[in-house]
Amino acid sequence: MSETMTGAEMVVRALQDQGVEHIFGYPGGAVLPIYDALFHQERVKHILVRHEQGAVHAAEGYARSSGKVGVVLVTSGPGATNAVTGLTDALMDSIPLVCLTGQVPTHLIGSDAFQEADTVGITRHCTKHNYLVKRIEDLPRILHEAFYVAANGRPGPVVIDIPKDIQFASGTYVRPSNNRHKTYRPQVQGDAEKIRAAIALMAQAKRPVFYTGGGVINSGPQASALLRELVRLTGFPITSTLMGLGAFPASDRQFLGMLGMHGTYEANLAMHGCDLMINVGARFDDRITGRLDAFSPGSRKIHIDIDASSINKNVKVDIGIVGDCAHVLEDMVRVWRSASPQVDKAALKEWWEKIDGWRGRNCLAYRQSKDTIKPQYAVERLYELTKDRDVYVTTEVGQHQMWAAQFFKFEEPNRWMTSGGLGTMGYGLPAAVGVQLAHPKALVVDIAGEASILMNMQEMSTALQYRLPIKVFILNNEYMGMVRQWQELLHGGRYSESYSAALPDFVKLAEAYGGVGIRCDDPAKLDDAIREMIDTPRPVIFDCIVDKTENCFPMIPSGKAHNEMLLNDVAGDIGSVIDEKGKMLV
């Protein structure tokens, strides 16, 4: 079926044909024809954000919580450049997005026309792929191909830059029978030989550990189900990166908590002391490995990743399996079952005893207070009071993000949206907007810091406009807490520019936006205040006044290995623990 229509109509038709229900955008001169085409239909609902960065983060939250491709529409020039941080965020965290940008008419490209920017040039390094559409004949193919590229292989953002004359031009639209790229075919099935070799290593392991990441989430719910099956079959312990939380239930006895810079004692020591590491969909990021030359020195390593370039990039592994997590895990479960190997029960028992010893250190313990709300306590209470609900959590970036990761227990995938790779302050509020749209009935909470929240605060208007009852739960410590913590540890407590001066009154701010503001500074009243927030069917900003000096532990300081992590009780002399060279690093 082919039809004649304008480029702008093709854009909207392709979105409909892809089953897109929501797009996040902001209009401008170079996309007016597309906005006009949107006006004439109802199937694709446009969500008007208040800043293009917000559009991209909202699309990220939408995508990560639903498994669908997030879609963004912005104008040329400043619209496109405002989207760059969001695109980079999506690239780092492998979030599938299609971002449509307007461009000046083809004959003006290169003339420094009004609102012209070299969008494909600027976004080449922060997209998985990008296109400049120069001929109307190419537009239908590119539109559909972009969805394929964004979602297949290692997911990522794709930009389609569409000059205004192409939007007006008329051409033939055909919906391709499939939207595959003509040559791009990521490998999804793992090498059978390597999978057998991996199972053989696992069968002999005495001190194994699963180390899993965002790849399991990206691979889809099936991958999480298969991971659970394999972990239970083997009886091995499992830890997860920040991005992978929820793939395996946090309450399960086999789960050691998050690993890495602010990971648990037991997770990091298990990584350090294991004899076999099974990495599923994680990428040996520097926040995970700590000092590389001391990273898990005595282990053999298996690495499953859909991106061949991740394998042996940071850490040399013994078996690298290129493939999609769900496919590879399915094969691993099958091979394990059919081999039904005789594991070394005595050794595994000893390993678990060791791990339980580390667990006994209770590394997340903190000093409780009657007078001030400890930030950890606030997250704990938030978790306890929301855990029986259909809850999704987003975060900003800083200490509150790490406390959320440590104290909020995720039992299911796609429930936890955070900016891991780029660490983008201002991510959480727009992401919550996207999540709430994808899950209108769910409880969506942005666990925020008072500094981060101001970076994309304008998106409160979006939440109000579309009646999205998101909850912004600010752990207000009056500091850029994570910066203050590093200054305390590394710079002699000279808190240069990290105090959040001249803060707005968040309760009044919420009200000014048309939402509801709640403030609490008393531990005894916290539960009631949280309940009030949950029961308010409108957007809420919760100003939770917490201890200003609390630091986030455990912590692997700069220049240290996993087995040199700091726990809460040594906090007094922490400054002396980091050597001069460690101070050079972030």
Binding site: L292, S309, G559, K560, M584, L585
Partner: protein
């Protein structure tokens, strides 16, 4: 250096590799590849590109690069994940490849110097593409070393300008890509 980031790797032997990369001949593909090398800090010694299969819109990019074994593996994997890249072929691991380059040299001079330039060009098997009473343009095709030597010799004979194509390469033997 003790660091939370990885230490700079100990000096490992560098190897020179010639890669033949088959790509869709679409706008921006060269910028993508060049940007990958600059963005990730890889070396490019030589890079040539030209459409080789017109109907299929395929181009062949020949890249000569140096790096440790680990870096070379990363370069190949990173090239492989670019969407318009069809295949990455390491001609160096497939055995010593045939490598050729073309150079044009303009030499200006009179009298003895001019005779010497002519004699050297003959010795190297260069072709004379243009001649005036005071100048020559020579063409030489050969390996990079040979071209280097020719340029060095010509420097003494009034060399004023050089233009080189960069390397075109192909594996030896009956097997095609």
């Amino acid at each position: 250096m003790k660091s939370h980031y990885s230490d700079a790797p100990a000096a490992e032997p560098l190897a020179r590799h010639t890669l033949a990369v088959i790509v869709d001949n679409e706008p921006g593909v060269l910028a993508r590849i060049a940007g990958l090398f600059s963005g990730r800090g890889y070396n490019i010694e030589s890079l040539t590109v030209s459409e080789t299969e017109h109907e299929k819109h395929l181009s062949r990019i020949t890249i000569v690069t140096t790096g440790t074994a680990h870096v070379i593996e990363q370069i190949k994997a990173q090239l492989g994940r670019l969407v318009p890249v069809h295949s990455v072929n390491d001609l160096t691991v497939q055995g010593e490849a045939v490598e050729r380059e073309l150079a044009l040299l303009k030499v200006v001079g009179k009298g003895e110097q001019r005779v010497e330039a002519m004699r050297l060009a003959q010795a190297f098997g260069a072709r004379t593409l243009d001649a005036t009473l005071t100048s020559f343009v020579f063409e030489l095709t050969g390996g990079s070393d040979e071209i280097e030597r020719f340029i060095k010799m010509m420097t003494a004979c009034g060399l004023v300008e050089v233009s080189r194509t960069g390397i075109a390469a192909m594996s030896r033997g009956a097997e095609g890509m």
